[in-house]
Symmetry: C2
Subunit: 276 residues, 2 copies
């Protein structure tokens, strides 16, 4: 079932590449074109069958009826004004940025048919080499319409996400950023700060506990710095809550209070057990 | 190759059961017997072929030539004096406790042939139902001999760990506890405190990042409270380092300092990338 004629993916990395592959595999568009700063990415994307055509220049997207911005947050903000000068008037625009308030506020001013998206999929890896349409299957994709969002555009973007296998949920950009500060950004901050304090000479003793807990700290540091800074207020609050909880645990350990310590740990255990 | 005639496992849970299965599968002893508080565990251990005989009473271990204490830390300390009144004089004793200073200090006074062990294997699961001899293969087992340790006993216990597939490393109990405070205990504390602050209604948005980072917080809370309290000093220091690192990250976010933030995150990324 074709939903679009020509889809342009800006940023053919892990997420952009996975979406491109899903669209191609499920024949949701007549043509998928890719834009990347790196020629190598485009070659690999073509070789993997993720895109039909690729270019390092934005000019290639001028006939697209859907543009998906799949670059890091700051690049989305930087590219938007350039893209608006190239695309057709009725072109739909969506993005996959990890924070939504800044992006939606800016992009809905620039594009008449913008819909903010955030597929909760991905990994610590980057690059088209790791792209896999399966990461979208049974994932959640949050859409962040506002009162300014064109309903038809929203429905069409929503249909696309459904067709690649994601379950769509609508949230305000504000609610999205608050929720993500807890379920994604804070875990990354915990992982980065945790592995940072483990003395290098002890790493050879790492077993699955340390490895799992810090896996996401192998993620791109610049990309995540951008995400954290684009969700500054929410993240600062979330870090403070984490610091307070660490203090509670520290106090119970210092007081040798096994009962209290077990209780605090158990609050976490109960929540963790609801996650599969 | 038989190393022992009769091996007794005290605590036929995840680790005890996995060791028992490994000993049985590799025919390292003529007989493996199990002791557990719970009849159900013993039945399951027998059904899985982990033990030949089981009992809720310690009396069953009196002919053993190796006793492996595979209970939580406090139970090891409590059971040791009782066990010393039952076993033969030349019986070897080892344990799999997650902290070593307290246990070694106490148990080497009680048993002439005690060797502290800590196989770095396991998961957030408990009970014999999840026991699997494969978790020991290619794992690390830390042995913590002291100047009082009988060399022959050490060599025999070390041979056993090698034969079940573990790589053995010798450390002092003090070095063990310091290292483990970073590579195991602090990750658990980070996971417990992280999941504790995520609002319950946001958990449905959890993707692999949050799940991996908090997986170990599904571990038994009482068991881990005991571990933390038995390694109090080291853990308090490790938590303070984590708090300081969180503060550095928080400061860079508050100052909107992308360069500095990327640098701090990258310190973690570089370390994480050395772990497979």
């Amino acid at each position: 079932m074709k939903i679009f004629n020509k889809v342009a993916i800006i940023g053919t990395g892990l997420i952009g590449g996975s979406i491109a592959l899903a669209i191609k595999n499920r024949k949701l568009a007549n043509e998928v074109i890719g834009v990347s700063r790196k020629k190598r990415n485009l070659l690999l994307a073509r070789r993997r069958g993720a895109i039909d055509k690729g270019s390092q220049e934005l000019g290639i997207i001028k006939e697209a009826d859907l543009v998906i911005l799949a670059t890091p947050v700051n690049a989305i903000l930087e590219l938007a004004p350039k893209i608006s000068k190239i695309v057709k008037k009725d072109c739909l625009i969506t993005d996959v940025g990890s924070t939504k308030e800044k992006i939606v506020l800016n992009l809905e001013k620039i594009f008449p048919n913008f819909v903010g998206s955030h597929p909760l999929a991905g990994s610590e890896k980057r690059s088209i080499a790791y792209a896999d349409p399966k990461i979208l299957e049974k994932s959640i994709c949050i859409l962040t319409p506002t009162k300014n969002t064109n309903k038809k555009a929203l429905n069409k973007v929503r249909l696309l996400w459904s067709k690649v296998g994601a379950r769509t949920i609508l949230l305000t950009p504000q609610a999205h950023d608050k929720i993500l500060s807890f379920v994604s950004h804070l875990p990354h901050i915990a992982a980065f700060s945790l592995i940072g304090v483990v003395p290098g000479q002890y790493l050879k003793f790492a077993s699955t506990g340390l490895k799992d807990t810090t896996r996401v700290a192998a993620s791109d540091s610049e990309l995540w710095a951008e995400i954290f800074l684009s969700n500054q207020k929410n993240i600062l609050k979330a870090i403070e809550l984490l610091e307070n909880n660490l203090k509670r645990i520290k106090r119970a350990i210092r007081k040798n209070d096994k009962k209290r310590l077990s209780l605090i740990l158990n609050e976490g255990k109960i929540k963790r057990e609801t996650l599969l």
